[in-house]
Each structure stands twice: as structure tokens, then as C-alpha cells.
Symmetry: C2
Subunit: 523 residues, 2 copies
Amino acid sequence: MILHGKNNIAGALSAQGSQHIEAIDPATQQALPGIFTLATPVEIDQALDAAREAFVEYRRKSPQQIAGFLTAIGEHILALGPVLIDRTMAETGLPQARLEGERGRTVNQLNLFAQTLLEGSWVQARIDTALPERQPVPRPDVRSMLIPIGPVAVFGASNFPLAFSVAGGDTASALAAGCPVIAKAHPAHPGASELVAGAINTAAAQCGMPAGVFSMIHGDVDESRYLVQHPALKAVGFTGSLRAGRALYDLAAARPEPIPVYAEMGSVNPVFILPDYLKNHGAGIAAGLCGSITLGVGQFCTNPGLIITSDTAGLPELLDALGQQIGNTPPGPMLNAGIHAAYRSGLERLEHHAGVEIIAKAQASTGVNGAAAAVLKVPAAQFIADESLQEEVFGPSSLVVVGRGADDLYRIVEQLHGQLTATVYGTGADFLAFPDLLDQLAQKAGRLLFGGFPTGVEVCDAMVHGGPYPATTDARSTSVGTAAIFRFVRPVAFQNFPDHLLPEALRDGNPLEIRRRVDGKWV
Amino acid sequence: MILHGKNNIAGALSAQGSQHIEAIDPATQQALPGIFTLATPVEIDQALDAAREAFVEYRRKSPQQIAGFLTAIGEHILALGPVLIDRTMAETGLPQARLEGERGRTVNQLNLFAQTLLEGSWVQARIDTALPERQPVPRPDVRSMLIPIGPVAVFGASNFPLAFSVAGGDTASALAAGCPVIAKAHPAHPGASELVAGAINTAAAQCGMPAGVFSMIHGDVDESRYLVQHPALKAVGFTGSLRAGRALYDLAAARPEPIPVYAEMGSVNPVFILPDYLKNHGAGIAAGLCGSITLGVGQFCTNPGLIITSDTAGLPELLDALGQQIGNTPPGPMLNAGIHAAYRSGLERLEHHAGVEIIAKAQASTGVNGAAAAVLKVPAAQFIADESLQEEVFGPSSLVVVGRGADDLYRIVEQLHGQLTATVYGTGADFLAFPDLLDQLAQKAGRLLFGGFPTGVEVCDAMVHGGPYPATTDARSTSVGTAAIFRFVRPVAFQNFPDHLLPEALRDGNPLEIRRRVDGKWV
């Protein structure tokens, strides 16, 4: 396989720049084949100009045509075969089975959005028919629906090189909404990005889509800033760190025309183990918890980084069992040297924090970028007193917060930052003792789990992968599941239009046969 | 009637501050009775603390309870009787019939949201049931719905002292969503604000709502800034100028935890008169246009400030007739001296702009704050070359832009700023000649009108009173109609919950009998 290393500007390969990057194999720290050229401002302008132009044609495509395009993207990704899996393995250190599974998820996401388009009711058609006889003034005929907003920039994540990257959930939902996409390839997997971008272009050409519907650029901070500030850009999808996500949000908010930024920035995903549950299941839950903490070397935004429990019966058993499991976890290779260094320094910061004790730490790896799992504990009083203990340590570690009763528990919840998820283990007796807990937690997280583990985010209609800041920059949205499409649309109303000039979704005869709200009733 | 002039902090009257304002009668420039004390930071803190506390109780109220509260607010506003109308007339110069109509609209809005709650499906319940047998991993049970986000600040408009003020659409939709409200009284109608706030408190007490569910403060720039930056605040609703709206948006975006700002900042609401239509209806449309331009002394955010047409048959007739109508319009009193001064200077700026010609200007008023209606024209080339000609001149004037064919028309549309509305007059022949116009305009406005006039915004399910920046700071929303409720909520998912711990909207038996999306089907 030979990688061209160029930017993909509306289907044309372009490498006008003089700055280059290489992909690094995290297992060896050696450069992989391929030299990737960062995009110049001129190339980014070209991508946006093409996107703006393509948008005019693309937004008028039928649901069937766009659904066909999404499905074709999935097919062309699958058609890349082992070449894509091999390159992605080399760039990320993630195992083959995981990446094959992630590829399946990526294709499923595309297909799910295709189905959403074919079903069609996502446009939220609302129709209030005229009441010409109403006094004192007649009521006009008003009809509204969601329409796409325009070109969207997608910043992929390092930890999901397929499902949250070039053809991941952000791209799939933006394309489904009718918006062209400019993807910024993650510098940790530029080769996988190039391959997937090629698959999208092939699908676009095959399905008769305008070339500007998709571009992909290589870039670093400067290129990202330029892209987000481009006047033709209308929204941003991002998955990554709080620092980078907030920087993009701030840039977008300061534009002459501010645009929405949907940045999913991770969280510490507290797991609450309530006293009555703890009493009988302290040891029993440890294996599952350890599995969730160390899954994928802890590199998931839904990784449970916080375990909130109490100094009551069952705690010693929980800590013993969890410590043993974590201590015996073999070291795993992290995605890249930057993430590995951040994990080590984050863990070190925790270890030396007043009041924090190490319960167990796995043996350090002798290999490159190998991360040792760890579990630590801290009394609730310290945790409540210091917000820095809530900062995410991205990797296979978790902090056990030990409270002394109901007051501590509610104080912990009260000052919890916004989270993607919160998980609760409790018995009937626990929920009688803490009647307000679930309601309070719903104010803090995008998804509540009753038992189970937060890792593993189902792609479905009801999923909410989002949550209050700093989990995301826009708690009104989800970046996983079919509702992700609502990030890239806005409503528009048509007043007193003749039927033939209305969009099909709003015409009298309901030619698309979609569910609509007509004069206050769903039909 | 004696006005106490105090801030209303969770139902308690409070005047700790040392800064005061008075209401000015715009017809006389004389102070009206009543001294109003601006809120101190301590009072604003108290309002937010009470709101935060009330939110815990308020968000658990049943739809029936909140609907009863909204209805009661309307009843208590009506019960104020002529006292409210008289004071509002004195503070705004708006005529009695208009204010009685606006009061009716205010009450209707409250009742419409009450109905929305009773119907219940607005929470968008989505349910994906478990598939325990699915391979390779079982699908969990995931259910999601919209929940309220927390305390909302409402900044009322000067031009709708009832329907977009203390108990206006923002307050009604936020309370309906389950969010406490802190209203900032508009300094141009503090007395009307006080009266309406009292009605809300009476309703809250009568319906057993927590007192902190509503507060109203008097304030200027500093108080507004303090309110928007308060950590307990979760969203802002605003109707007013671009400058003030953008300032609040910038403050909110720069917070440690950014919050959404729904600022409706007005627009110039272009009216397109296409050539074939113009040919036969140039004169005929003038009376309606003049009526819409001068309605309420032009003080509507949907006032048609721009008329876009072409140098073809019918134009002289349009300009003659429109000029005559505008020239004969009696001067009307504006809402306050500030708005009047802004109108005069805005009009002067236009008059002296290169290329701009006055078609007609009504006789200036000899009274206080009386505004003379005006209509001006400019060639398309000048308009396209200078964005400043798109700035809103709030008042009874309009600028006719004269193009020279299809190219001019599309160039005008291309560079139009975001608008609340765009209106098109055209024949079948026109839409054949300009096949892309409606699609292009949908990208620029929140509401498209086929004929008619943009003033008069229907309060209904399908209404979109919003639009791309700078019409609003958030084009994804509407501030009029039942969909306004979606501004103050966010989705949350519940995974694998036992039925009895789920919110009622998500339980198996569907006790609320609402429409839900279950396993991909609407039921």
C-alpha cells in the first residue's frame, strides 16, 4: 500500500504546503511509511469554497439519494479490506478484533442514518393550517421543518480512529442532515484517514454527489484555527480533550458570525456504589469494574475514572478485590506517546495529592508507551475540597472516593462537574435512603446507568452521548445515535405558500409519507 | 395605584440598592410616578440561590401542576385589569387597543404552553428496548427524554412590554420547560414589569410553587452582566438590539461554563417583489407595504426595512404609490427617547449615504418623540458594495433596492445577512425565471412568506421566529410558538433502569399516554 499523503480537496489531491508529518507506530515509536502534507490556507479556502458550492446541490438531493450515498460510503470502507485494518493497527496500536468491530460500528452508523433519512420524520414537519375566518385576524397557513445549516468541520478523535474519525458519527450525521463536511485528519492516524477519505470520495462520485460535499485536510493547531474561523463554515463537530475543545469553542464564539461547536471532551464518569449494595457485592463488582477501567487501556471517554462509595460494610472487600484485579492487569500500549505521557503525569499528580492513597498499581511495562493500570482512593472531604481531583486522567486508572454517609454523597453530587455518564449500583433500600440521588444525577450527566458499566455506547435512537459542560460544549446535543443529526439543522417556517412551492415534507398530500404534527395532532 | 419600585426576589420585595430609575412618559418626556431601585449583586445572588433551590422542587412538579401555574399567571395578569393597561400605555405610548391585544396574546401564549404540557409529547421520549440475545453483545435498554436545564434569565423587549417581557414568550417557555426564571425588567416599562411580576408571584403562591421559581430585578448594564455571569444561571432569553444581544452572548460564551444565549436581535426583513409580479401590481402592493412599514410606528422586529425589486415595468408605479402613502403617514410617538434618537440618526445616515435617494418622507412631528415615516431607494450595486446598508433602522422606514436583473437579485440574496423573515411576491413566471430563489432565501431567514407582510407573528406549533445570525445568536431556535420550549431543555438517557425508577414519560405502561418513539416506531 502506497499512501499519497495529500490533502483531499473536494475529491482532488493537493499538497501545496511545505509542512509535513509522519505517522508514528506507538509500539515502536518508529515512523510509518507515508509523508503527509499539512494544508495551506489556500487549500482550506478551496475546500470551503467547494463545500459552499456543493451545498446548493447537495441540500436538494432526495432522502433516497443521500441514504444511498451513506450506504455506499460504508461499502467502500469495507471494500478497503485488511489494508485499512492493518494501517490503523500500526498507527494506533489497537488490536485487530477491536478495529474490525469499530469498522462494523462505523458502517452501522452510516446505515442507521440512511434508515433515518428513508423513514423521513426526523425533519419534524409541523403544519398549522389557515383559519381564514378567525377573529380578529385570520390565522395564516404556517409550516415548518428542519433544514441543513451548511458546511461542517469534523475533528476526529485519536481513540476511535474509525467510528469517531473521518467517516465517524459526526461526518455521518452531518452528511445525513444535508451538510457538506470538511474533516481534519487526526495527526495520530493520517494514513487511516487518507484511506477512509478515499472511500468517501469514491462513494460520492459513484452516487453523483457534488465533489465538494467532502474534503479532508491534514493539519495542526494553525490549520484548525483557520478552518474554524472560515466564514463559510457553519458548525463544528469535535471529539477530544477539554483544552482543545474549549479552544475551538472560544474561537467559534468570537467569530463575527458565531457558529455552534459540538465538542465532546470526555469526563470521569462517576460510578456510585451505595451502602446497601456495597454490603453484599463489594467483591463481586470488582471484576466488572476493573474490566471497564482497563478496557482498551482505559482510552474511552466513558471510562469510569471515579468510584464513589462509602466507608461502610463491604468497602474493604471492594478495595481488596479491585486492587488485586488492577494490580494483575498486564500493561497495555497506549495510542501514542503524547497520551502516554499525559497519563503518566496525570497519575503522578494524583499520587502526590494530599489525601490520595494508592490502592494498587500494576507493574510498569518495559515496552514503549505501555501504561500501568492503577486504582487510588481519597476521602470525600478532600475530594469535595479540591476540584482538581475531578480532572480526567485519560487511561486505565480510577479514583475511589470514600464518603461517610448521605451528606457526603449529596455534597459530592452537588459539586460534580458535567459528565457524559453516571452509573449507580443500589438496592431498594438504597434508593429509599437516597430518594433524590437519581434526580440530582440527571442534572449532571447525559446518560444514567442503573448498574452495568459506562463503556460501550450503544448506537440507537435513544442514546445520549453528551452532557453538561465540561463533558461537552453543548449539552443540548448527542454525538452518538440518530439524534446526532439535530446538531446540523435549524427550523425554517413557510407562510401561506402554494403547495407546489413547498418542500415535499410540508405538502398537503404528504408525498414522503412521514409523521407530521398537523393542527396540534401527530398524523 | 402605588408602585413599590422594589426588586422581587423569590416573591419577597427588596430594595437594598442606592441606584434608582424612573419611568418616562414618551409623549411628554416627564417622569411617571414610581421610583425603582436597581438590584445589588447581593440581591441577584439571592434570586439565583432561590432559583437553584426552587429548581429541585419545581422540576418534579407534574405537567398538570405546571400547566395550572401557567394558566393562573394569565388569569392574574387579566385580573390586574385597566391598571396594567393604563400604566403600560403611559410608559410606552402604545395605544390601548394594541396593549389589550398584546395582553391577550400574552395570556394565550401561557395557555398554549399549558396545553403543550398537558399533551405531553414535547419531551420527545425515545425508547430502545433491550435485545439480550444480540450478538456479539446484548443491546441494553436505553430510554431518553428532554429535561429542564435550570435557572433562566429573561431580558424583555421595549417594543412588546407584555408579550415579550416579564411574562412573555421567554418566561412562559422557560417555566413550561421546568426552569425557574429571573426576569430583568426593561427600564422603559418598570411599572408594567412590577405589576406583571406581582401577578406571577400570586399565581406561584396560589399553585403551591416554590417561591424561587420566579424573581424580577431592575437593572442596567452592570446588573445584566452580573446576572449573565452568575454560576447558577443556565440559559438566557433576550429580545432587543444586536449590540446588547451580542454583548450578552459574548459574556455567556466566556464564562467558565458557557451557557446558551437565545438573543433575538431583529432584522431588516427583506420583501422581494419579482419582475412579473411588479409589472401588474406595483401600485397595488403599496398600501399593504406602507401599512406594514408604519404599523406600531415601525417598532417591530419583523418590520420590512428592505424592499428588493428591479428596474422594470411597474417600478415607477410602486415608488409613486409607496411614496405617496408614506408621505401621508401621520407621525407617531416612539417608545422612548433613545429609540427615537436612534431612528433619527439611522435615517440620517441612510439619507446621506452615497447612492441613496429619498423617495418620500412624512412631515416631522411637532410632538415629543414623534417619528416621521420615510422610504428611500438605492441601486443594487451600491447595496451589494456596502454591508452597512443592511443595518436595521428601527422605526417606520424602508429602503428600496433596485436591481437590474437575475444576477443582481442572486447577488443581493447571497450577501444578505441572516433575517427573521423574507417575503416574496412573485408569479408563476417569476418562479420559473428565478428557480433557486426560495431555496437560497431559506438559507437566510427563519420564516419565508409567500406574499403578505412579515409583521404579525402567529403563535402556533409551526412558527419559527428566529433565523441565522445576526437575526439571532442561535438559529436552531424559535422564540415564538410552542417550539420555543426546546431552548431550555436537554436530553438525558436512562440505561437499564427498573421501571419504577424511570421518569413517568419513559415507563413501560406509558402512564402519561404520550406519543413516543419505541424501537424505531412512533407509538
